[in-house]
């Protein structure tokens, strides 16, 4: 009997129950999936290769086994600094005594979207030569060709992730929430990374000049011009994408509540009533006026770097930060899955989902619902956990590996 194993819409592999042969796995046309991952001197991995099919991947093992390191490696297949936001030089493998054991690290992967395959390699050489301008130099290759900027990865790949550190996202500072919302946006609008990086660069430049007491008007003018142009562009993008995402987030899905999401801040308020060009002028004026007081505090008091991503529980209307820990996690998962669905609709393929210790704080009903939603979506999710049994009901719908001390074993 040749049965198609199905889970809602996520029909994506066949299982031959009678012969016990390896399932014939065929990619659905709109799924971004890794088929081979090779790590070199990356964290705990000296040289490791993992071959997988398009199904979700479950990774179990004790704490410190290298599960999060593996997800971090996958997060380098999209633009940015990875899910730990680590310094490039921190990532190289260290010997048991903590001494750096390598001068470079690399992540290479073969990915597919339907029948199209792409090879991505990215890595870093740590200060090979003091005179080189780049110092720690990140190199990214797409299909064997070095690309000028790792931002180009965003045209081919996307990933969303949730880590245990993000459990406190609603309780901690707004910067984490802005990063979270920007990461959601990169999946939907890869070009968003440009203004975000440019604004951040100019903001840090202005703060440095102000802290050094350098108030040369024309120099500050030029920097604030860049802040105004890129800052307003990035807020406009955030507002547009959050509005699209809101439409998908509003209704709950499975055991996960819906949410009301919005960007909130001074610039957002201005944009509610005035056209972007007027707001650019207004922001430039505000920066000019605040120079003396900003010089005293050594930072910039107005701008999109002060905005917040506000989330309310869809059923209760409660602000996310006063919801219970379990409810906060459920809201986060709901938003990430909504973003993944929206991306599938808009870009035509599912993102990679990197879900680190995702089942913590989830009761059984939500765990079962999460697995169903992932299978429905048809995304290649990489899910880590410490206990095997939790994943047992998934059976052949996932591929399960045990990790221990940087070694994989297929279960």
């Amino acid at each position: 009997m040749n049965e198609i194993s199905s889970s809602g819409a996520g029909v994506f592999f066949r299982e031959d129950l009678t012969t016990g042969e390896v399932p014939v796995v065929t990619a659905i046309p709109h799924q971004l999936a890794v088929s081979r991952l090779t790590l070199t001197d990356f964290r705990c991995y000296r040289q490791q290769r993992l071959e997988v099919d398009v199904r979700p991947v479950v990774l179990t093992g004790p704490n410190g086994a290298g599960k999060t390191n593996l997800l971090e490696a996958l997060s380098f297949l999209v633009p940015g600094r990875g899910l730990r936001r680590a310094k490039l030089s921190e990532i190289t493998r260290r010997a048991a005594d903590g001494v750096v054991a390598a001068r470079q690290w690399a992540v290479a992967a073969k990915l597919s979207v339907g029948d199209n395959e792409i090879d991505i390699g990215t890595g870093c050489e740590i200060g090979a030569n003091d005179n080189d301008r780049g110092r720690d130099k990140r190199v990214t290759k797409i299909d064997g060709t070095v690309v000028k900027s790792q931002a180009e990865l965003g045209r081919y790949t996307s990933a969303q992730w949730l880590t245990p550190q993000m459990d406190r996202l609603f309780l901690e500072g707004a910067s984490g929430r802005r990063r979270f919302v920007d990461q959601l946006i990169y999946g939907l609008d890869p070009e968003h990374a440009g203004p975000v990086a440019a604004y951040d660069h100019s903001l840090r430049s202005r703060n440095k000049l102000l802290r050094e007491g350098n108030l040369e008007p024309q120099w500050l003018d030029s920097i604030e011009e860049s802040m105004a142009r890129h800052g307003i562009a990035l807020v406009v993008r955030r507002l547009e994408v959050v509005a699209r995402l809101q439409a998908v987030c509003r209704a709950g899905k499975g055991a996960f509540p819906g949410s009301e999401i919005a960007m909130a801040g001074q610039v957002e308020d201005w944009l509610a009533s005035e056209p972007a060009l007027t707001v650019e002028d207004r922001f430039r004026d505000a920066l000019l006026t605040s120079r003396p007081s900003d010089a005293v505090i050594g930072s910039t008091s107005v701008g999109p770097h002060r905005s917040d991503f506000a989330v309310r529980h869809g059923d209760t209307g409660m602000a996310a930060d006063i919801c219970s820990t379990g409810e906060q996690k459920a809201l986060l998962i709901g938003i990430v899955l909504a973003a993944a669905r929206l991306q599938t609709e808009e870009r035509g393929y599912t993102p990679l989902l990197l879900l680190d210790e995702i089942t913590a704080h989830l009761d059984k009903a939500r765990r079962v619902s999460l697995f169903e939603l992932i299978l429905d979506l048809g995304a290649q999710a990489w899910i880590t956990g410490t206990e095997d049994e939790i994943f047992a009901p998934l059976g052949e719908q996932v591929q399960h590996f045990a990790i221990n001390q940087g070694e994989f074993e297929k279960l």
Binding site: K148, S205, E216, W219, I223
Partner: protein, 197 residues
């Protein structure tokens, strides 16, 4: 040659941009194997360059003459000055033969995060040159990075009352793309389609 001399050679070569210790060893070995055809002529060429190359006191170009061959070339259009970050950018533009004016090498871009300010660049001499009678157009060819664009904005501000038209290379220069890395066709198109600021 003692081991020390080979080590010294490798050590010096490894300080060249783009060469790490491994490629420096390869280069040293290659030089030694090609002593007559490459190593000795290279040594002489280096000595001659070290002896004779100087920085043009007008534009910042590197040449054995000061002022440089471009600054003294009577066939060049002295009404136009193209502002670039580095000598490598001047070379890139010269390769395209799309510009017949003079150059000005800034020596970098404004970058608070790298500690580079207006005094570290050749801005004062640029402004003095722009105020000269003959000059009518300043073409900004700084890179399309955030710092490059901020520097272009700053120069435009400073040139406001210098009585010159300020223009910039047209689109086609990707963000983060440095002038030196652009192919010749893109570069000459960007020069032809430059526009006023």
């Amino acid at each position: 040659m003692t081991t020390t001399e080979i080590d010294r050679l490798i050590q010096l070569l490894s300080k060249l941009p783009g060469l790490g210790p491994r490629s420096a060893r390869r280069a040293a070995l290659h030089l030694i194997k090609n002593r007559e055809s490459l190593m000795k002529p290279l040594g002489l060429a280096m000595e001659a360059a070290a002896e004779n190359v100087q920085t043009c006191s007008t534009c910042g170009n590197l040449d054995t003459a000061n002022p440089c061959a471009i600054c003294t070339d009577v066939k060049r259009d002295t009404a136009k000055i193209c502002v670039v970050e580095e000598v490598a950018d001047l070379w890139a533009l010269e390769r395209t033969a799309s510009f017949n004016g003079l150059y000005h090498i800034l020596g970098g871009v404004l970058s608070p995060l790298d500690g580079v300010g207006p005094d570290d660049l050749t801005l004062d001499s640029l402004i003095a040159r722009a105020r000269g009678d003959e000059v009518t157009e300043i073409i900004l060819a700084t890179s399309a990075t955030v710092d490059g664009k901020t520097t272009a904005h700053y120069i435009t501000d400073r040139l406001e009352d210098a009585g010159v038209t300020v223009s910039a290379l047209a689109h086609g220069i990707p963000v983060g793309g440095e002038l030196d890395y652009l192919d010749d066709g893109t570069l000459s198109a960007a020069m032809k389609e430059r526009r006023g600021i």
